[in-house]
Symmetry: D2
Subunit: 338 residues, 4 copies
């Protein structure tokens, strides 16, 4: 059942018939439940077929109740077992806990290589780094572009770490896919449906970040856009939502982890660096993510945070990253995670 139309007390037969007819015209079946006081009409069939009918505007209708979930391919009901994604031998999802780390943006080859060595030495599995940067201001540093992608490829060759990097422009999807092992869709593009459709057509895993202004259900719907095109390798990422609380940049929605795991088979990781915007919160939020059931974390690391071209105040140094990694590994072991 997709939706239920609750008729007002005293709704006429004609009004009931009108709703039923409309449901049937849309190719669905109508399931009429007549109580002593009220009649309830269920619409059986694909939700998309009835979703566009504005039953609230019909005479005699009291309210509409949505019952079924609007996503399918990404739902736990559709696929009960966890999706596990293999990225050059690194497993993401299931019982694995994967550490992605690196600088906010690629600045120079040296900076990237130095960071990658820190990441690898401490046990990080995947290197992150932005070549294309979405910036609120048109006057801020926008990333190195293709030159940054090449640095990423060179550092991957040197260290063996797979690469995740953001794609912002549908015209760059193929270019980024040539260099990246995982394509990242940033929070601001979570509902850029054209971009979702395009990355749905390529054969590389996608890391889809939740928008700070969108719900968990909308995150799953955005994943559905990608999955529908054929790309089933999607990693979700919780990175904080906007609330009235000013003491961190965003409010990490830790409950989203168990909720996504109940509703979807896709892996979900946490970005504690962007969520908090504060270096001192990265470790406790990483441990909390692990304990809550996340499949990994994505942490910003910079060899010299005070020189960083963006987000320096939330980046961990080599030392602090190593210490945090040690705690994560100990806790993961206690929880039976790999």
């Amino acid at each position: 059942m997709s939706d239920m139309v609750v008729m007002k007390k005293g709704a006429t037969e004609e009004e009931i018939e009108r709703v039923v007819k409309k449901i049937e015209e849309a190719g669905c079946r109508a399931d009429i439940s007549r109580g002593k006081y009220k009649t309830v009409i269920g619409a059986i069939g694909d939700r998309e077929k009835v979703e566009t009918i504005p039953f609230e505007a019909f005479p005699g209708v009291e309210t509409i109740v949505a019952i079924s979930t609007p996503y399918k391919l990404v739902s736990r009901e559709y696929q009960p077992e966890d999706t596990v994604i293999n990225v050059n031998g690194i497993q993401i999802g299931g019982n694995n806990f994967t550490i992605i780390a690196g600088p906010c943006s690629v600045e120079t080859k040296e900076q990237l290589l130095e960071t990658a060595k820190i990441v690898k030495a401490a046990g990080g599995a995947i290197l992150r780094g932005g070549a294309f940067k979405p910036r609120t201001s048109p006057y801020s540093f926008q990333g190195l572009g293709e030159a940054g992608l090449k640095f990423l490829a060179e550092v991957k060759d040197a260290t063996g770490l797979p690469i995740v990097t953001e794609v912002m422009d549908i015209r760059d999807v193929n270019l980024v896919a040539k260099f990246a092992d995982i394509l990242q869709i940033g929070a601001r593009n979570m509902q850029n449906f054209q971009l979702l459709t395009e990355v749905g057509k390529i054969k590389k895993p996608v890391l889809l970040k939740r928008s700070f202004g969108c719900t968990v259900e909308e995150l799953l719907m955005a994943a559905e856009y990608i999955s529908k095109e054929g790309n089933k390798e999607i990693i979700l990422c919780e990175r904080g939502i906007r609330t009235f609380e000013p003491s961190a940049r965003n409010t990490l929605d830790i409950s989203a982890i168990p909720i996504v795991r109940l509703k979807s088979h896709l892996p979900i990781i946490v970005d504690p660096s962007h969520a908090s915007g504060k270096r001192e919160l990265v470790e406790p939020l990483s441990l909390a993510a692990l304990a809550a059931g996340a499949h990994g974390v994505m942490i910003e690391v910079h060899p010299h945070p005070e020189e960083a071209l963006c987000d320096g105040s939330q980046s961990l140094t080599a030392n602090s990253f190593s210490q945090t990694m040690a705690k994560i590994q100990a806790l993961a072991k206690a929880l039976g995670k790999k």
Copy 2:
């Protein structure tokens, strides 16, 4: 002055020097204010030059205070007088109050023409109607695409009403610009920086809707992206933000109207239909927008809301639109608006 770096009590000369040097390296001047207890260092010059420096990561730094606004071209300081945009003889901005109305999406030529006649008869100035529709679900009706644009053009010819319609995909900018008098950027694309850049290069006015998850400052920054490319004809649109209050679809941020008018010279209108999601709130919110200083409203009208392919429950009928228009016109007159 762009930003102020407040040093900790007891910060050393070396720490102060480091901040000063960094500011100067970025091509700005450092304005040192030494108090008995604390030293404050102002960064004078273009904010973009110092914005990327993570001073919070520097030793001896207590906090950073942003003083100046991060946008320029769209600021009231840059241009004190209101921008007034001329769309086929219709004025938007200044002392004008402009009514944009039409269906959520273009469905058929007949539906569009019937609606356009309702809009025109009641005194509406511009016709809205979506040919490309951003939908949360990939399974929902996505709009008629180019066929919808052609219907819009035909109905424009028939009624003389200028057309505003959404562009979602950078690949469609030229196509949409061929048909539309005003290009709409939807709320979900407010921070699609590539799309903003592309519509900044064309010579048609842009209607930029505020994202439900973004601040007024971010809205102005998004407008700055467009303006920076040369397109100065930007109409802002407040359409509600996400809050904990469930009784309307979004919370219309009425305060955004006077705030934008204080900070920017651009016209700002209100979309009460999407903000509330409820037909019965459209009229009071339209009147409130007018009284708060908005330059117009954009209202959904549908000849048969119960047949609408989207958002029928928030669309006004011909009758209710006429009544609302009469009240708007009376109030506008009392306020001395055109």
Copy 3:
């Protein structure tokens, strides 16, 4: 009908019976609607009787749908016509638009008298002023207490303006009621149910401010607490809610005005001063409140804002208050309000 229990597809007869029995044990009737796929059970009777039953914890239950509103006495259904409250000859509610103005807190008799004269001269109807002040910090000025109440009484005698002032402590209800014409319940006490109950027992109108963290429905429930004790003279007040938007202190929820007017017969006014925290927003928000259907506004005025002991930055001066009043009066006239 109060609530509907939707059973899962395949729920057994035993599971259905268990729900029905529980509803009947609670003194309500169960209205069973059997569809082909799902069974829906309505609970007919007083909502309070079934509200405490956790049906979601019952086997076979899919979801619970609340249909009826949880408040009664304050609902528009209970009393279709507007409540109009008479305060010493001043009408609040219905087609009246009432101006309440005065300083945030009573500081001295001179300050209060000077302000009251400004208020009266400009056409204000009621004088506000806090003698007991709820302050986030225990170290902030907490108000003059009983001495402040006496100043209010003296200034009322001198000017004829009725008085509204806040009561925070159940032990002070009788004291405040001796001096005040209207007792104010502050936003932070909106869910102080003991205090609501106590002011429900007295025979003076109550001005109930919405909490910045509560919904419109909770505001109406708080009013129900007062009404249930016998005090029907309740004036609701919207004063902004907390959101992620930082450009005003709170986000004025202008939609709450028409929503409350649809759902309740009680008058609702707006406090633009506390909502915005900014003097320059008071006038546009006052006009918006009026246009949206509010029954009045409560504005902070101070003869010397820079000397104010609290909230000086949002207080209007004598001049700006007079100008704002003139615009309000012109708009009220155009809207046919008194």
Copy 4:
């Protein structure tokens, strides 16, 4: 330094002097920092003395910057070492992780005793149970009152578990203190300053829940109200805040745990049951709280959730509580907690 007043570019000497004079009149010292472009004036001294001065209303003033924290006694700076509270031999704070569990409300002596045995058997340290219940609706079950307190005392005698229970009314503080080992202040009363002051005068620990509409700083200010009266035994409790996300009742603000621990010496626990409103989220959120550094959790347990008089859908059963406890204990051990 408390606050900094930033003067506008071109502010006159007279305007600067006026600010300085006002700061000095308030008993503070003014620290003038003159840069080439702007002058910044620091107010040195107790923040409460200058907090009430509305500098933003002064001519020549550009903005005000708050530097110091507004709370003192509860701050980490005031007392660097963790507060550890001893409740009948149970330690709360420091390196301890304490489990508080029990039913939402006390219903019968049998229900309470049965629950207490479940709590004790699984390793819970303290029994929770409401005798006075704050309810949004005046028609909902309001708790057993004094009878409930007596049941709590009897069950404490029978099991040895200390008791925490809520006090809502200042007139009940002594009564509740006679029975309870810890007095709870509910979320809706977090800014009931009279109640905070009264519990500040008694000699029993206080469990202070964060309001769903208040910030971390306001929580600490509320604790300051209690501490200022002499009662230093305060346990803070994070229980979720209101956001736009609908998939859990509230959004647990997990970042609040490390933030409070950085800013304050007081212990902080988490209430995953009220935060989420969903049984299946209680375990992952409990584990996340522990990993993030919380000092304990407060969990709702009910022997027969479907019979519960309130909040049955979020209560754990005996079985699920035991399983969750086992996981908590394993994780606490791995983290070196007691």
